[in-house]
Symmetry: C2
Subunit: 500 residues, 2 copies
């Protein structure tokens, strides 16, 4: 049976007792990867698994133990010294899962003679400080070094050493990343231009901080994705929250709801159920791909269309919760093999992204009264902070990310600074609202596709890919080629300058 | 009486027992500031002294105490909201001393209506973590957070908060810095383009790492500065080291040397004396200004010319050490008020720059056989590292600075990346050899003056300034004006774009 939510997106604002930590939308959680089905992955890429002795705190000289960072190196007999390196900036999960789901990099590498490297993010997968996951996640003290800046420094250190060991200092590095990994790729190009010549940052919401974009953006986009398929579907969902609250009154209410929704255990609160339903909608918006996928869950093409068809297709007078269940069944049980739904037992348990959300990655979100199909909610930083202090004993630094990486007035700041970044986005993806959607300069480019989802461009190509997706990838390939050509041209020139 | 060496530059490679830590040339040491003479500073600028509650480790969430960072804010009634801020990146010393010696910033600010801010570097002056200098410098554990990246993050955090409190987020910030402060200014523009629109990095040897420039560069330049004044002077100095060794044989030898050189106490080794003499030459090369100064020591214009005049002017057959003493007397006793010379009692005592040199700031230097007037020396990293482990219990990361900030192939890397940096250098300054001396792009500019010394351009102007210095400053002013104009133009455009 599949886990509840590969991409955990717990929108707890429904219940008053909701914990804002869990409630912040996440890209990926500890359950992000589907439990292995026992069936071999359709796409399997050839790589060696290696480990690199990494520094735990790059920015201080405190006496701390190092740790082993895992990275994958594609097998490529055609690569030669000073040839390109395509480097995937691992995000909050097991790097092998990202490698498996980032077919684009594997597919295009051969035509550039590029070596593929996937580097795991510290504190995820097998890249655990303090020797084990248990020790790394023990408490705030052991988690203290789980930050984006340290992860970027890991990548820079790994790459520098990797090239040095291959006597290939002249290799141009192109960065790739999706979602949080895309944020890392973009930031890395900005902070380490001497390490990488360019970055493809797919679905990277680097502006989803403070008040850079309206706080309602994320849920408005999710809601619009449903509304564009069917206004009635949007309205049914919008009305369903009150119905849930009403039905869930009292102990009997919770028992009935648990039974009606085929849950494996009895609910403790209506909030638990709303979160689970909410998550489905937001994930559906992210993976509303024009073709079948099993990135998160096995899903048909255009899954929101399918969800709304289920919700809408019941006769007039049908109980609204029956409609809702039929809808989310598409997400949680498309294969029809689920006996009962297994809600996450410990949604507030320690996991990496929750820690990151409670320290640096404070991405405030609200739900608007009119445009959103979700219950109205105004982001409340004070309770967010309280929750972090309670859960982890840590106080967030909500203004730190923009201090360290910028974001405000990004077009002015980067217009004459920096180069060679592609921000690609699918506009159906709710994270696109916090990303860069307009060109900043000749070489800091935004590629937005109206019908795309969450880093769809990075996924393996299929025969069913629509033309606009094929075209988007072609554009990306051409831009990357121009970076590489520029680089090698520049080297030739500088080499000749030195000679004569 | 003046202290031994305001800019401690202990070149211990003469004696075999020399400690490489102390031996690495420093910009400034704990004795960098001349002991107060009791006479009021000629240039005194009007400012308020303030403190900012700073984070000790910006890049981790370890539970550490904050500290108070000192900064100076110029009094300026004419400054208005969103007006420019001229920000000096404090280096390894008391910020008031830098404020006093950086007249350029104070002098040009009024014509831009700019507010002047001088921020102190953590672990220097009064900006001490853990409550006091004693606690901050207690051991490797307390010193662990004395790094350049933390200092830059301090500046970014301070500036962001400062502007926020003034409701002046639109203020463009121009960075200034000399020497290590210049390195910080350049790096800050590269790492925090959203915080500052440009940087004047004066005498900033950001390439003095690993093997980016030849290791002999520094001492070759010092030596050339003497050779250009007088070949015989250069030769006398080059010969003097053996004479020193010979004279210093045995206990009587050391006693005699101590007496001949008017030292206040008896030498323990010849190396002590050579270091002291070496330091004088290197400092002289740094401050070989075309006009009288008292930045380090009270000195005449073109002090090396004066030193060589003293060395050369003795009749043939004069003992070579008599010549040498006459020469360095110009540096250590130009006012003629010194009774005896007080060698630093504890040259290896804990101080900030030594720690930085033993962690990140590994700037390898050798002394060549032919071009250098110093004893031949090949940089030996192993013994350098040993010394750091012995002295501080810390192991340097000699490749970290270039991993974090780059340096290799800087012209290729920054040709199409970054903007608005001036690297200014005086070619008599031995640190110029590790700086950027050629334009990188239209807006990353190198301004080198043949007859300039160590960040001479940042010093207060005088009536005796030569035309080329006046011209250099004018060029800098014009470039800074163009940055500010560009910025305000861009804001206007973006504001209009939003309106219509």
């Amino acid at each position: 049976m599949e886990t509840l939510a590969p991409l955990l997106l717990l929108l707890l604002f429904v219940s008053a007792s909701a914990a804002p930590i869990g409630s912040a939308p996440r890209f990926l959680g500890p359950y992000a990867r589907r439990k292995s089905s026992g069936v071999a992955s359709p796409a399997s890429y050839e790589y060696d698994v290696r480990y690199f002795g990494q520094t735990l705190d790059h920015f201080s000289f405190a006496d701390l133990p190092g740790f082993q960072q895992r990275y994958l190196v594609g097998r490529n007999d055609l690569w030669s010294r000073n040839g390109p390196i395509f480097f995937y900036c691992g995000n909050e999960g097991d790097i092998e899962w990202f490698a498996e789901n980032t077919g684009f990099v594997w597919e295009i590498a051969p035509r550039f003679g590029a070596l593929v490297v996937f580097a795991e993010h510290r504190y995820y997968g097998k890249s655990m400080p303090f020797g084990s996951r248990e020790s790394a996640y023990k408490d705030a003290k052991s988690l203290a070094y789980l930050t984006a800046e340290q992860a970027l420094a890991d990548f820079a250190t790994l790459l520098t050493d990797f090239k040095h060991n291959l006597s290939s200092e002249g290799s141009p590095v192109v960065l790739f990343g999706g979602s949080y990994g895309g944020m890392l790729a973009a930031w890395m190009r900005l902070k380490y231009p001497h390490v990488a010549i360019g970055a493809l940052a797919s679905s990277a919401p680097i502006l989803q901080f403070e008040d850079i974009v309206p706080l309602e953006t994320f849920y408005d986009i999710v809601s619009n994705d449903f509304k564009r398929e069917s206004l009635s579907c949007f309205e049914f969902i919008k009305e369903s929250w009150d119905a849930l609250e009403t039905c869930g009154q009292g102990n009997d209410g919770l028992r009935n709801l648990s039974k009606d929704f085929h849950l494996c255990r009895k609910l403790n609160s209506v909030g638990e159920l709303s979160d689970w339903i909410n998550s489905a909608y937001s994930y559906l918006a992210m993976v509303d791909y024009p073709l079948p996928s099993s990135f998160l869950m096995p899903l048909p093409a255009n899954p929101i269309k399918e969800v709304c068809r289920k919700i809408d297709s019941h006769p007039n007078g049908t109980d609204i919760l029956v409609r809702i269940l039929a809808g989310i069944n598409v997400y949680y049980n498309y294969t029809g093999t689920v006996d009962c739904f297994d809600l996450e037992d410990d949604p507030h348990g320690m996991n990496g992204w929750d820690w990151q959300a409670c320290t640096e990655m404070v991405m405030p979100m609200s739900s608007s009264r009119d445009k959103s199909m979700f219950p109205t909610y105004d982001f409340d930083y004070a309770s967010y902070e309280d929750q972090c202090v309670q859960s982890y004993g840590v106080r967030p630094r909500p203004r730190w990310i923009t201090t360290e990486f910028g974001g405000h007035d990004i077009r002015t700041v980067l217009k004459k600074f920096g180069s060679n970044i592609i921000f690609s986005n699918g506009l159906l993806d709710p994270w696109s609202g916090g990303s860069v959607l307009h060109n900043i300069s000749d070489s800091i480019i935004a590629l937005a596709t109206e019908l795309g989802g969450h880093h769809l461009d990075l996924r393996p190509s299929t025969n069913e890919d629509p033309d606009w997706l094929v075209g988007q990838r072609k554009t990306e390939i051409n831009i990357i080629r121009s970076w590489l050509n520029d680089y090698y041209e520049g080297r030739k020139t500088s080499f000749l300058t030195q000679l004569y």
